[in-house]
């Protein structure tokens, strides 16, 4: 259980209770509670009458780095990746609410990185998440934008959702949006979440599912209503 790093950033610690385990881990790290994140590996239990089957609580306590190490890793890996693709680009990372917002600015080849319907950007994002996550041994939340594409796309999807919802209300018939990745389906769901006259649900399989926009009150029940499921 000893940590062999000269400057330890995380320790696994045991104790009679989770709280005790955290307390002594903090002492070992020389950190305060709000400087760390805690993962409970084993809840621990007192056992019967505190005698039989007592189990130690085990926690992993990790010093938060304020995102600096993660940020540096993201910048390093994406820069290398782009260099190998022979794309000259600037990579910058901002951290907001624990999400790493990556901005890539290329010298005139934004389109190449975005791809048809943003598929190259999706691929880049997926790989970056996997690669950085693997290197840091934990999952990393990151979103990549190239040349303001995400923002334009978000607005376009919102408008599409609203205009389709208007049609659905007028016709009282449900409509299906083209297959989209999860992050973009979310935009459709959110855009219509507060509209009491329509509801949205997801159909399909795989990465690209479709959102269906349906009238809230159905004219007659024909079994169609139960089609599909949530995300």
């Amino acid at each position: 259980m000893e940590n062999h790093l000269t400057e330890s950033h995380e320790v696994v610690n045991e104790g009679r209770t989770v709280e005790e385990a955290i307390e002594s881990a903090l002492a070992r790290l020389g950190a305060t509670r709000d400087e760390v994140e805690v993962e409970v590996l084993e809840e621990g239990s007192k056992g019967v009458l505190g005698l039989v089957g007592a189990k130690q609580a085990r926690v992993l306590v990790r010093k938060r780095d304020g995102g600096q190490a993660t940020k540096a890793k993201i910048e390093e890996m994406l820069s290398n990746l782009l260099k190998l693709m022979e794309i000259s680009a600037q990579v910058s990372v901002d951290v907001k609410d624990d999400i790493h917002l990556v901005r890539i600015d290329t010298a005139g080849v934004d389109g190449l990185l975005i791809g048809k319907k943003g598929q190259n950007l999706e691929a880049l994002e997926h790989l970056a998440r996997r690669m950085v996550g693997k290197q840091l041994k934990r999952s990393v939340r990151l979103q990549i934008d190239v040349g303001g594409y995400r923002e334009r796309r978000t607005n376009a999807l919102k408008n599409k959702a609203l205009s389709m919802a208007a049609k659905v209300k007028a016709s009282n018939k449900e409509m299906q949006v083209e297959p989209l990745p999860a992050s973009e389906r979310r935009i459709i769901h959110l855009a219509l979440a507060n509209d009491p006259q329509v509801r949205t649900y997801t159909v399909g399989d795989g990465d690209l599912k479709s959102v269906v926009i349906a009238p809230q009150r159905r004219s007659r029940s024909n079994g169609e209503a139960r089609k599909g499921s949530g995300e």
Partner: protein, 76 residues
Amino acid sequence: MKELVEYIAKALVDNPDMVQVREVEGEKTTVYELRVGPGDLGKVIGKRGRTARSIRTLLNAAATKAGKRAVLEILE
């Protein structure tokens, strides 16, 4: 292009040393054969093949830019 596949694959697997990429030049298309260590196949394929598809997508983008065609084959 070979280095691109290598870099991505090495960053994804448990055993980077076991990653091998062989470049097979064809008339129009270059095939990149990727081999990884035992147990790492799933890492480069991903859930529903998403990771493999992502590598192919980026490889295609890079190849297109270079005016070439590239195919990725993941070998067991």
